[in-house]
Amino acid sequence: MPRFKHVKKVVILGSGPIVIGQACEFDYSGTQACKALMREGLEVVLINSNPATIMTDPEIATRVYIEPLKEEFIRPILQKERPDAIVPTLGGQTALNLALALEKSGTLKELGIEMLGAKSDVIRAAEDRERFCRILDSVGAKYPRSKMVRSFDEAMAIADELGLPLVLRPNYTLGGGGGGIAFSLEEYKNKIALALHESPSHEVLVEESILGWKEFELEVMRDRSGTFVVICSIENFDPCGVHTGDSITVAPQQTLSDDAYQSMRDEACKIVNAVGVETGGANIQFAIHPTSGERYVIEMNPRVSRSSALASKATGFPIAKIAALLAVGYTLDEIPNDITKVTPSCYEPALDYVVTKIPRFAFEKFPGSKDSLTTQMKSVGEVMAIGRTFKESIQKAALSLERGPRGLAPVAVSEDRLATPNSERLFHIVQALRDGRSVEDLNKLTQIAPWFLEQLQQIVEFEFVISADRELTAHTLLKAKRLGFSDAAIAEIREMNERDVRDVRWRHNIRPAYLQVDTCAGEFASQTPYFYSSYWSKPAPRTATSKEAIVILGSGANRIGQGIEFDYSCVRSVQRFRTEGYHVIMVNSNPETVSTDYDTSDELFFEPLTHEHLAEVLSHTRPRGFVAQLGGQTPIQLAPMLAEDGFKLLGSSLNTIDLAEDRGRFNEICRSFQIAIPKSGMATSVNDASKIVSSIGYPVLCRPSYVLGGRRMEVIENDAELESYFDRHRDFISEKTPCLVDEFLERALEVDVDLVRGPDWHVIGGIVEHIEAAGVHSGDSMGVVPPQRLKPETERKIEEIAVRLADRLEVLGFLNLQLAIKNDVIYMLEANPRSSRSVPFLVKATSIPIVDLGVRAILGHSSAQVRPERFQWRKIDRVSVKGVVFPFKKFFEADSILGPEMKSTGETMGRGRDYSEALLKAFVASQLVLPKEGEVFLSLREKDKEELLPLARELVSMGYTLSATGGTARFLRNHQVECEEIKKVHEGRPHCVDRIRSGQVALVINTTSGRHSVEASFGIRRSCIDYSIPCITESDTAISFLTALKRSRHGEFAVEPIPQLHKI
């Protein structure tokens, strides 16, 4: 069945900013889909609000709109574009919901737009639990039974019917308050009484428990002729109870018999058909009882998902691309398998290796939030590793986490960390095995399948063999490497030096082989340039490439502070290096990204980003050199060791990196250039720090050296806080890693500058002016291009300083600077000798291909070749505002107050003809509701009151009513602003938090500082998160928000595609 002839123009919806549960896997899927449909000759219109993606590069689609993913913005785009169809299955839940809204409002019908990939009925059938259950019933599939109870008697009756243990979920309580699991009748009686009480509607959902059951997931595809294939089976290491996104997972499934597996496969097929999925990808999760084999369906998604990205990388089958082609009418047998070229896509990949994914968490970023894993996803990224066995692959995956070169490193076992799921459990299990705990025992405690535990036990047992060997023999070494041990791990176990282990290994010629991911377990010859290392095969000689090779180091797992922005730089530079005639080799460990798509680069090595693994890839591939400027801090930290091995670092030298990263040396340069820097000192103890503070005065900014994302960085206002800081972070402060104590430039304006420097040229990519004042991490502050408050002469001075500094550091490639401006003095805060988080935003805002220019700089192209004067970032006629999104909702105990430690997961971009339009779009795109009317609650710190007085007046004149806590209310009334006074939390009830929870408040402005006041006002911010009420915590944000509010009242805005980037 060939492609639909009537579909000539399609709209693809992206997934918006990166949030927990919806991350850069949708950049991967959207990019793949756009490319595939463009190749088909279709006109492709892409809409996404996230500028940090490859998919929003103007070349990816016919036209790219960076606009909020909200109906009011999408509708005018659809009216303008008049597409034949819309594909809602590639942009996660966001795109599905948006498509449903467009359908419900009649927009699609009115404009004659067809939904491809999934019709609204299908989306609803999978989403609506009751409908879904009816469908499951119709195909004879089972699912956890449940019932809503409203009384104690009802609860007892249902307990009889369902049997213990039971899960209690009180209705309408947030964060699962009052819920839990009851294992005994006694416990059930107690808990149900409490739960009924806790629920505002006195309703509790009592559900059959599947905790501890094995969990599986099938990634399937179906075409419109009804052909059904399973692309990948995934088995969770963690049993049911942990969100699959937070579970360690393995592909293919390992512990089911063919009989059990095929029966699950049959059921998946029936469900997909019954739900009505006509074409595309879907995933279905199952729970299987470990002994009885009874099977329940957990859920299904009728769309491309996070696990389909994982499945694509695990198998080499490009699910998103195929899904896009199926959506426009092709069938699986008509689409050739990309990898073998000769076989069709209607097959099921066969794997002759094992893939392990481990999620990466960020609990340390959210003090107060409990490191406990539940059915609510909390991880911010993931790593994947491929090995011939589970042992080889999980050890490689553990190394990919970048926790240190040992991988599954020793910890002090805590019973609690074993018994309940948490981000550290794997390490505690391994340690418990080291300590002699039995598999049986651990299985009882964790319910993890004994097979997995035995595998870990075999790893641990071999540690003893490694340490018992009198001399490290070739035999032991080879076996260790086959089990996935790193040289560093072997060294640590034997109390040797890592280099010495490597020397022994090299002497015995024990080197990794690079095996192909070929979708067919070697059955067919394939040319796919997608490799993983393993010590199970003998290294084969490498086939020579006609072009010179360049290796690009990726950025590893997404984490707060190092995310998709760095993948953008990597992918964009791969494309540039290829255009420049190089054979480009990508190394990365993150399965969610575009960079780990095997057709992004000439060759992909899916490997841990460790010194050992990179050194082996480099000595295998013999490139001209490697690039460490693109993947954020990870490659920057690896570069010195690789350079020491004799591999050539391309672009800026090690010395440049060190000059920028070493505080002392960098400050020296600034001083010599008469660039102001915040006064600072280095302290290894609180006494040292006090001395420093006595000369520079509070407030100060404290942080350990060499950090990304502002890890452990805090503004300290007094002695008590200083002491507390040193106490809390004592593990990270030492002689070797002293704490930096900087003067804190209160209320200063901050900017980011990105520039590229070639041998005799430079291009300023742009200056991003932060909306929030100094003190909020640059990744968490909103930003605007062009600057709105900076004086033109300051702007020029900043550019001058940037260029001089780049020259002095002898940058070849990228340089990112962070500066603060206070009383017209420009202070240098930090320099990063690499591409930065702000680069993709600037590329979209200015149309300057910064990454491409960086590549030309790294290659040493001259000014005459590059003609840098063509790129003038100020020559733009649009204003772009960067918005940010935060994951506070997922961390029940976390505070939403901003500070020097980064907490945001993603960004958005609002593009407008003027500042207010851009602001409006940025806020809307960042999921902030702009209330049209209602009550605004204010609780302001002393210093903000004066500043925000005009704002309060304006709000009243716009028709909002005001309420405030005592001090703020009195201040406002004294200035003739009408305002209702409300009690603070400690002043008795009903207080401000009760007010917020009552749903009466439409907007909260709460500025605060100082540890004590921050703690006291926590309830205000937390209730806003729980009830999804916009809560502004910085005065500058409040002023911007007002600007956006005013703009939204006019209700007038335009949508337009972004322009092409400037030709390079």
Binding site: T227, D258, Q262, R265, A350, L351, D352, E523
Partner: protein
Amino acid sequence: MNGYLVLEDGYTIHGEFHGGDAQVGEVVFNTSHSGYEEMATDPSYHSQILVLTATQQGNYGIADKFWESKNIWIRGFICLEIQNSARDSGWLHRLRNANVPVLSGVDTRSLVLHLRGAGTQWGAVVRADSEAAAQDEARRLIRTAKQERTSKATADWTKAVSRKKVEDRRGHKTTGPRVAVLDFGSKENILRELELRCREIRIYPSDTKADEILNWQPDGILLTNGPGDPADVRDGIETVKQLIAYNAGCKKERDKKFIFGICMGHQVLGLALGGRTYRLKFGHRGSNHPIRDRLLNRVYVTSQNHGYNVDIESLPTGVDVTHVNLNDQTVAGIYHREWRCLSVQFHPESHPGPHESSLLFDYFTEQGCHGSRSN
């Protein structure tokens, strides 16, 4: 214990030998992720050394219900790793008890790439201290085995695995047909699938004459899977020729006996129709082979296990190619409408593998057999 797999062409690969006697067989690889027990007990693997590309074997233990016959037929089990823990080493033990040599720790990918390039060949699994010693012993073993292989008396491998006596089974469907099964080495699941759909089943040894089968007056006849070179299955081919001749001679459509062949049954039918078979370079063995089924008008994934194929060019007129392997466009199913015979190269009974093509059993027992009765 050191062990080796040595191929006829001298390719030698090292592994850990887990016991059993040194053995010789045709070395073949299967890409299924699961189903080791089903494969090892499938009579089609008679005299073959099985290489599994999935790296960890034995993970989920053993169960009698997975057995596809009463014996383990393979002559060797080669994998990268085999489950062997205090809790469960069931599969390893079953193989050992059946005296099947098990070689683990083998870099199966390199081996498969070699087989893919050099083609299916004989090999021996031996225990030896050195590669040279292994090669010496293997050469000797292979030579002897090949001499045996070429002797007329044992050339037809189906005779080694087929039932020696007629066996009757009662089906679960009282309104279903009576089906005769010509056993070339039937997998148990073919019989289970028939039991679900038939009233009565009679299973005949592979050298049964056509008259005997016809005398039982079945509604349909199923030709099973089986091992070896189809061209050597002379008795079977002769019987099927007679059955076809019977159908061709029937005046009334309803007197014809619908014939349905699977794998070896398909090849035998192809030969009986006057076609030729040829040896595939390294066969098709796995659970992921796509088939275009023009009969049911579908595309689905099938379980496959065969080293020979029916040559499309050799088929006489009147034979439609109804099934095509989409990986290499080889013939995967034929249908002679007039003579009422249909056969497929793949395994609708799966075990291991996906179940979609079990629809062909419906076709056989409904349109096929019932068609014969009612027409």
